[in-house]
């Protein structure tokens, strides 16, 4: 019996490959595929009352979603907040990576470690520390009032969209740094010199050579930030107030307080589809734009 398996194992490379993959494969099936399938099927049921669920298949929950103005508004708001977070992160992280990749000669690793140092603390702790900074009696407001610049605290800083954008940007910046740095680091400096040699200014060389060549990193950073921030609910729950609430907070409520699991599942499915759709569009548009650029 063992001999038989040994033979199969030695003969077929695919058996080897699958047996190497199997731990990850089993985990993904249990932790991803099964829950996804459950969520999809629940989105097609109906919540009758607090305790009962009607298990006949219907697409009514998806229609419900688009008939509820609040849910559509929250979806758009989630996308808008994530979009802002992604954009601000890219604009701030790109120059830093550019600097490390091209101008830091020694100890590049040290720079990267120092930049990612704040991310060694927990996500929740960082969210709470922003609360301390942005709050009505927080660092910013109290110092501005003590300095006599303000009479009343700035209210838009806390429990608002602004607070969510600031906190999420800070929380995810480290994840943008790495793909950007890796793609910039790979660019041979002689490409940049060749661009200058061929008559282009520094600015033109950046847009026609450096940026297009760093595109894989840019797209990577966009995906890495956009996808998780759309679904984030901790930051909006702690810092968003009513203004900064996102769709994920509502989904959480459907599974909890409101107890409408089918509508919650439908909302989650819609959000997931939208995110996939947007990431495909964003990466394609970015590629097209760069092609036109060069």
């Amino acid at each position: 019996m063992i001999g038989f398996w040994k033979k199969i194992y030695a003969k077929h490379d695919s058996v080897k490959a699958y047996s190497l993959l199997s731990p990850a494969l089993i985990l993904i099936i249990l932790a991803m595929v099964v829950p996804m399938a459950l969520m999809l099927s629940f989105s097609m049921f109906t919540q009758v009352n607090m305790m009962e669920i009607d298990y006949t298949f219907t697409f009514q929950r998806y229609i419900d979603f688009f008939q509820k103005n609040l849910l559509v508004t929250l979806l758009i708001k989630s996308i808008k907040i994530s979009f802002l977070v992604t954009l601000i992160t890219l604009i701030t992280a790109y120059p830093v990576c550019y600097y490390i990749a091209f101008y830091v000669k020694k100890n590049k690793m040290l720079w990267l470690v120092l930049l990612t140092l704040p991310f060694w603390t927990s996500y929740l702790l960082r969210v709470f520390s922003w609360k301390i900074i942005l709050g009505t009696k927080g660092v910013i407001n109290s110092s501005l009032i003590n300095a006599g610049i303000l009479n009343e605290p700035l209210t838009f800083l806390m429990y608002s969209e602004t607070a969510v954008v600031i906190t999420l940007t800070h929380a995810w910046a480290a994840f943008a740094l790495l793909p950007l740095y890796v793609s910039l680091e790979k660019i041979d400096f002689s490409f940049i010199e060749a661009g200058r040699d061929l008559g282009l200014s520094r600015f033109e060389v950046f847009w026609k050579i450096t940026f297009p060549l760093s595109l894989p990193g840019v797209i990577g950073a966009i995906l890495i930030i956009f996808i998780p921030t759309v679904g984030d609910y901790v930051t909006p729950a702690l810092l968003g107030g009513t203004d900064g609430r996102m769709l994920s907070n509502m989904i959480q409520a459907y599974f909890g307080k409101i107890n409408n699991i089918p509508l919650g599942a439908a909302s989650a499915t819609i959000m997931l589809t939208t995110v996939v759709f947007i990431t495909i569009i964003v990466s394609n548009v970015t590629k097209k734009l760069t092609q036109r650029l060069t």
């Binding site: 041979d188 002689s190 490409f191 010199e193 060749a194 661009g195 200058r196 040699d197 061929l198 008559g199 282009l200 200014s201 026609k208 050579i209 297009p212 060549l213 060069t294």
Partner: protein
């Protein structure tokens, strides 16, 4: 023909404490194939990068065709460069790579198309327009880099060891081709290389560099036949150094005593001081004759062959000559290692092949 087309005046470039280029001055003629030759770290690439504008000199100034370019950025200079690794933009195809440098010249579309077509046929790359860098061989990449630089019709083309990455056969072909190309289009070439054979075979003039300074600037045959110092003599080709001492001199001729060979009177081309022991003699391996019987040359020594290596076009003999406690290298086309019985031989030297050099 402008004899001082490129003027390099007292150029120095320091990187912190290191003097990469140390107070160098010379001129390059218009339409010349000029080589900067030297071992790695001698400053030749820094000098080329100073001409291209990638580095700015610590001291001195640079002129091309009468215009001071010392402070100009690379995009404002009448130069273009062929990079050592070719630097073909990987996100653009061959055609776009070549067009790249034309956008800022204000040419009409027709003219751009024509120029690209012409330069592609010049470097024999017609039909490769759509290829990307990773679909080209080393030699083809080198041609693209050349085309991309030449299409801008620069006054000076700078080449940074462009043949270093090619295999021997292809390198020999490209040497000939580059030389022909340069003569046809008449653009001044400044060519950096560490390969002395390459520099000698291609250039009109060669500047040999070491420690940031020009050791000798002359035509290739001059470099080989009349090296000005011990560094050039050693770096260009192969040679045997023998201990020597100078005696009296009458200006044109000088009396010298060479260890193991005796006293001779030879021409003093480099005006070497009399009564000095700070000198050496250099004798090229191929200028000596190895033979089975005694010859009537100026010097003929009894010798013993210790080792030989067969090189195809010639054989190199390592011999121990009477009175010289040092192995001497002699090369010969007429004999091989089987010609000599008991390894006994005679080494003959003609006085005019002995060059006298200062040690420092």
């Amino acid at each position: 023909m402008n004899n001082s087309f490129i003027q390099i005046n007292n150029i120095s470039k320091y990187f912190k404490e290191v003097k990469a280029v140390d107070d160098v001055s010379f001129e390059i003629k218009e339409g010349e194939f000029f080589s900067l030759l030297g071992p790695s770290g001698c400053g030749k690439t820094t000098l080329l990068r100073l001409l291209a504008g990638f580095e700015y000199p610590t001291n001195g100034n640079l002129l091309i065709d009468g215009t001071d370019i010392t402070a100009l950025p690379p995009d404002k200079r009448p130069t273009n460069m062929v990079f050592q690794n070719y630097a073909i933009f990987p996100h653009l195809n061959v055609e776009k790579n070549i067009q790249f440098g034309l956008r800022k010249l204000g040419l009409s579309n027709d003219e751009i198309v024509n120029r690209v077509k012409d330069v592609l046929s010049l470097v024999k790359l017609e039909g490769y327009e759509e290829r990307f860098s990773n679909q080209l061989s080393g030699g083809q990449r080198q041609r693209v880099a050349l085309a991309r630089a030449l299409v801008r019709q620069p006054k000076v083309l700078l080449l940074d060891e462009p043949l270093g990455a090619l295999d021997k056969k292809l390198r020999d072909e490209m040497q000939l081709e580059l030389r022909t190309l340069q003569k046809n289009i008449g653009i001044t070439f400044v060519f950096v290389t560490h390969d002395q054979q390459e520099a000698i075979s291609m250039s009109d003039r060669v500047a040999v560099m070491n420690d940031g300074k020009i050791q000798q600037l002359s035509a290739p045959n001059e470099l080989y036949k009349n090296p000005k110092n011990i560094f050039v003599s050693d770096f260009i080709g192969e040679t045997n150094f023998l201990k020597a001492e100078t005696k009296s001199s009458d200006g044109e001729y000088i009396n010298i005593s060479i260890e193991g060979l005796g006293e001779f009177k030879i021409k003093n081309n480099l005006n070497i001081a009399a009564n000095s022991s700070d000198v050496v003699c250099s004798i090229r391996p191929e200028s000596m004759m190895i033979s089975k019987v005694k010859s009537d040359w100026d010097i003929c020594l009894d010798a013993k062959i210790t080792q030989t290596s067969y090189l195809g076009e010639m054989t190199r003999f390592y011999v121990q000559a009477k009175g010289i406690n040092k192995t001497i290298t002699v090369s010969s086309q007429h004999f091989d290692n089987k010609s000599f019985e008991n390894n006994e031989c005679f080494i003959s030297i003609s006085l005019e092949d002995i060059s006298l050099l200062n040690k420092k």
